[in-house]
């Protein structure tokens, strides 16, 4: 076999992430759906929805129970890449309140290891997980302010002058132009004042940016979407996103 057949089209490193600027702070959006803040050596992930698969079992719907393992594996790879000192999970880290009890021993051990790899792990409360987690390391908080950034689960909360918001909850996804057609992919939505992360969980799904909840949250013309392609990130203006006003 010739060389050209065995080499794969490797995505250039600089394309697997996209820069995002939020009130002057330089952030990096990774194509796996996580946010990295280099100045603080901090990794942010939203809406892990761990054990979502097993939560459906109550309705006798037996989804393949690999979503927790898949999500943690992805997170582990990201931590290898960025080597953060701090990790923030932006709420809805588990799908329901009894999820912590359903963790397999392996998954629980994996998660504990991940938590112990950093100096500080913060579990922000979400609507699916208002209570602090059980049996895993890390501290809990309703929200967290670092510098001029406020980290909370639901976007649209109070901000003092000069502050910007980093949130999750809505699972943004964008339908945008790709090669040979459109693609609907998870996306970071931001306008310089607010940033909403895509859902990180393997079974978490997405909500199109054309949906109502996004309209009040972003300045119409300033909204950008950093879209998680399969091999690279694309940053596109609102007018190239299907249904953005």
């Amino acid at each position: 076999m010739s060389a050209w057949l065995s080499q794969s089209v490797s995505a250039r490193d600089e394309e697997t992430s996209a820069p995002i600027c939020l009130v002057g702070e330089a952030m990096v959006a990774d194509k796996c759906g996580a946010l990295y803040w280099p100045d603080e050596s901090m990794l942010v992930v939203a809406d892990l929805h761990l054990e979502k698969g097993s939560s459906f079992a109550r309705f006798r719907n037996h989804l393949p129970p690999y979503d927790t393992a898949a999500t943690l594996r992805q997170l582990s790879l990201l931590m290898d890449t960025y080597q953060p000192k701090r990790v923030i999970a932006l709420g809805d880290s588990v799908h329901d309140r009894s999820a912590w009890e359903r963790f397999s021993d392996t998954d629980r051990a994996t998660l504990s290891d991940l938590c112990n790899r950093v100096d500080d792990w913060i579990w922000i409360a979400g609507n699916h997980d208002p209570e602090p987690p059980v049996g895993v390391p890390g501290r809990s908080a309703q929200e967290l302010a670092i510098g001029s950034l406020v980290f909370r689960h639901e976007p649209g909360g109070d901000l003092t002058n000069g502050q910007a918001e980093v949130a999750g909850h809505l699972h943004p996804a964008a339908r945008v132009i790709g090669k040979g057609g459109s693609a609907r992919r998870p996306a970071f939505a931001h306008d310089g004042q607010r940033l909403i992360l895509p859902a990180f969980g393997a079974y978490a799904g997405g909500l199109c940016l054309s949906a109502e909840p996004f309209r009040a949250l972003f300045k119409k013309s300033a909204m950008r979407a950093s879209v998680c392609g399969r091999t690279r990130m694309f940053t596109v203006p609102g007018n190239r996103i299907l249904g953005w006003r």
Partner: protein, 854 residues
């Protein structure tokens, strides 16, 4: 391989024919008829309690043959009936179409009444009112006519044993059409269950001629038991050789397109010259166009009607009734008419477009002439030059009575999962017993115990051995070891999800003006004429600004608003999405081989129209002819692009998959491919690098480009992204019950309650690639939307047999596919531009030639 059908009544072994009861002989005498030989043969077989397959052309009296033994038996039962309780269900009739069941009920009731037989004949379909369904369960009719889905539902009820315990006969109509799909799998499992309720039941299959009658005969008989595993076969071949011709025209034969517009005046003449004509087309778009164009020149206002699947049901019924009353001169129809609804007398069948398969054509031609000893008459109308070859191949095949119906596949595991749940709803089962029962169904005769156990575990708890899942099992093993549904809600859920037909979500296509669209304000985009409906998955491949073909027009996609897809008329743009309007059926491998044979043997060109012969001779002079077993690859520059055209003749679906995989490889070879287009015959790729040079200098060797390894890593990689494969997985997930169907009214709550099948697919592919649903998806992909099996055999066939022609300019054979890039039928403003483009292509290809074929 195709087989030759026998041209006479063939019955082995012969059995003594029982006497008909007096009421029957009187009825036949009264009509001036005599029972036909095969009708008596079936009676004899039923008397001997032997399963029987009747293969006969349309018009042979198949339906009466199928029911005669039941009617005779029931006529004898009537004296007993007065003294006993109702005799119960005697005969079950299963048809693939609701409409066919209703039609057959009507055709059966008349003779039964005329003979004075006190027989209750009823239908049961999705449309049957709830009250009547209840009554049918309490007090079943003597003969029940229904569909595979309804049978599955009835078998899942707790009182199924009472309802079906007395069944004597089961009749399967249009068996050839049922067995090749997942519906056939479900039905085969249903038959296995019926046999458990009524061990002595006798089956009768009614079928058109097929390539492998033995497989059908096996389908009708129980497998892996002590009984005979093969039904007797009674074959009635059409008496007279059909009179088929290919329409010859003085007009210029089109290079591309599927509409055959050139031939409409001649088609109208043929309609005028015959009593009743059926005009068959391949797609709804073709039906609409042919209908409109025929009326445009229909100066005598001959009554010509239209019939296809997306028309309103009321409208279709009206056409059917008018046809039955002989009030119409012609009906333009799609495949909704393929199956055996009684249409009164048809004098001529006109087939517009490619026949796609020899058997398919034979079945359609069989529609003409209900007196089977007279020849059927048919005219084939090729819409372009390649279709001339295909029509000729199909005509030859018909003359040889060759058949190319698809084989019966191995039973699908997702269907089996659905069935296992249904059986647990009906009654407790022991795994070993149900396994034996399932293996008695022909498609599952080779099923391993291990696979069956996995399916049972999947149905119970997903099969992941998790405590949390076991607590909420759907079926559960009782203390006595038998499995039973765990909760009445599960049975309710099963009933909402039964069946194997997955209807894709559709959106309404609404036309807005380009000006409104430009404003992009939500108010401006309201209103507008509805053009029709299109499947959601297709729209997901488009971005605003893309143009596509809909209802014969090129429209520009503007966006989606709620359940509407908004489009505007457009004047420009190559619709870059490969043929949406193209035929659904790929060219059969048999016809493809026949076409390649004709191309490679110039002696046979004398049978072709002069224009086509000239075209092929010019191809031979300017490039080369595709060999029968090899692959011709041409490269040439045009404009600022380079083109590579290859001619595998494997059908559009296989070519699309091949296009996806080839372009990946070409990208890695730095050939900078930009796009591709696929037809039934050829695949064309265009791009920026000089393909011809890269092939010649060895930087992109063809034998490696087309190596079988393409189906390894490249396919694996592409699988992760292929929406076609995800769509296939979704169907398997729905059929197996992993995710639930969306039902009208519960969309909102439903959407919040389900995990997208795409996400499940991604996780499964990584964590359990041999999951039974992944196996099921692969099996479907091999033959379905991706047609991977066909690519595999093609790549093996062409190994070391690839011919590269590095050309200065486009070749004659490449013109049709190059025209597809500009899209087939174009109406409105864009037409002239495309025609101009077509003209320049043809001139370029034929430059310097002495016999311009224009």
């Amino acid at each position: 391989m195709p087989t030759r059908a026998r041209c006479f009544l063939n019955v082995q072994p012969t059995l003594p024919v029982p006497d008909l009861p007096p009421a029957f002989t009187a009825w036949f005498d009264g009509k001036g008829w005599a029972p036909r030989q095969h009708q008596l043969a079936l009676l004899a077989r039923a008397d001997a309690k032997r399963d029987t397959l009747l293969i006969a052309p349309t018009g042979a009296g198949k339906t009466l043959a199928g029911f005669l033994p039941s009617l005779v038996d029931l006529a004898g039962r009537k004296t007993v009936r007065r003294t006993n309780r109702p005799g119960g269900l005697h005969t079950l009739y299963i048809s693939p179409l609701k409409a066919l069941a209703v039609d057959v009920a009507r055709n059966l009731t008349t003779p039964a009444e005329e003979m004075g037989l006190p027989i209750r004949i009823e239908t049961r379909t999705g449309d049957t009112p709830a009250a009547r369904r209840q009554r049918q369960k309490r007090n079943p009719p003597d003969i029940l006519l229904t569909t595979p889905e309804q049978l599955a539902l009835l078998l899942s009820h707790v009182d199924a044993d009472r309802m079906f315990g007395g069944v004597k006969r089961v009749i399967f109509d249009e068996l050839h059409a049922l067995v090749t799909s997942k519906r056939g799998d479900l039905l085969a499992l249903g038959l296995a269950r019926l046999r458990k309720h009524a061990p002595d039941l006798v089956t009768t299959g009614l079928s058109a001629t097929v390539a492998d009658p033995d497989a059908l005969a096996g389908w009708l008989a129980p497998q892996n038991t002590e009984n005979s595993d093969r039904a007797d076969i009674v074959t009635v071949a059409g008496g007279a050789q059909p009179d088929i011709s290919i329409l010859e025209s003085e007009e210029r034969l089109p290079w591309a397109g599927h509409m055959a517009r050139y031939a409409f005046p001649q088609v109208l003449e043929a309609i005028a010259a015959h009593g009743t004509t059926l005009v068959f087309v391949n797609t709804r778009a073709q039906a609409e166009l042919v209908f409109r164009e025929l009326w445009a020149i229909n100066e005598d206002s001959l009554p010509i009607a239209l019939h296809h699947g997306s028309l309103d049901v009321g409208q279709r019924r009206k056409v059917e009734e008018a046809m039955a009353k002989n009030a119409l001169r012609a009906v333009v129809a799609t495949s909704t008419l393929d199956l055996g609804i009684d249409w009164g007398d048809v004098d001529l069948v006109v087939h517009v477009g490619a026949p796609k398969g020899a058997s398919r054509l034979a079945q359609r031609i069989g529609r003409s002439n209900h007196r089977m000893d007279e020849p059927s008459k048919a005219i084939l109308v090729p819409a372009n030059r390649f279709e001339v070859l295909e029509c000729r191949a199909a005509l030859n095949a018909n003359y040889d009575r060759a058949q190319d119906t698809p084989p019966i596949r191995d039973g699908a595991l997702d269907v089996l999962a659905q069935h296992v749940l249904g059986m647990a709803c009906s009654d407790a089962f022991a795994v070993d017993d149900l396994y034996d029962e399932v293996r008695s169904a022909y498609p599952y005769r080779l099923l391993t115990a291990e696979s069956f156990d996995r399916v049972v575990q999947f149905v119970a708890t997903g099969g992941y051995a998790l405590k949390t899942y076991e607590r909420y099992a759907r079926i559960r093993q009782r203390k006595d070891g038998l499995w039973r549904v765990a909760n009445p809600d599960v049975a309710q859920q099963y009933r909402l999800n039964v069946g194997t037909i997955i209807e894709m979500p559709v959106l309404t296509v609404r036309l807005v003006s380009a000006k409104q669209a430009a404003q992009r304000s939500s108010n401006a985009l309201r209103g507008g004429r509805i053009l029709g409906q299109v499947e959601e998955y297709f729209l997901e491949t488009l971005v605003p600004g893309d143009s596509f073909l809909f209802g014969g027009e090129v429209v520009k996609f503007e966006g989606i608003r709620e359940q509407d897809a908004l489009v505007s008329r457009t004047e420009s743009g190559e619709p870059k999405i490969p043929s949406y309007a193209g035929g659904k059926f790929p060219l059969s491998t048999y016809l493809a081989d026949e076409v390649r044979r004709m191309l490679s043997s110039p002696d046979s060109w004398d049978d072709l129209p002069t224009q086509v012969g000239d075209w092929l001779r010019m191809q031979r002079d300017k490039s080369a002819l595709p060999g029968r077993d090899g692959l011709l690859v041409e490269t040439f520059p045009r404009g600022n692009r380079h083109y590579m055209i290859c001619y595998p003749f494997e059908g559009r679906l296989a070519h699309q998959t091949l296009g996806m995989l080839l372009t990946r490889r070409m990208e890695r070879a730095r050939a900078k491919p930009l796009g591709f287009v696929a037809t039934d015959y050829a695949l064309g790729v265009w791009g920026l690098a000089d393909f011809g040079r890269k092939i010649s200098d060895g930087s992109m060797p063809l034998d490696e480009l087309f190596a079988q390894s393409m189906l390894g890593d490249d396919l694996e990689e592409w699988m992760g992204e292929s929406y076609l494969l995800k769509r296939t997985f979704r169907a398997c997930a729905l059929i197996s019950g992993l995710i639930e169907r969306r039902h009208p009214g519960q969309e909102k709550s439903g959407r919040q309650m389900t995990v997208s099948s795409d996400l499940i697919y991604d996780v499964l592919r990584q964590h359990e690639p041999d999951h039974i649903l992944m196996q099921s998806t692969w099996a479907d992909a091999a033959s379905g939307l991706l047609d991977i099996a066909r690519i595999g055999s093609m790549l093996a066939r062409i190994e070391d047999r690839i011919t590269h022609q590095r050309l200065e300019r486009i070749s004659p054979l490449a013109v049709p596919i190059m025209l597809e890039i500009g899209k087939e039928p174009v109406f409105g403003e864009a037409r002239d531009q495309v025609l101009e483009d077509a003209e320049s292509l043809i001139e370029e290809a034929m430059v310097g030639s002495t016999t311009p074929s224009k």
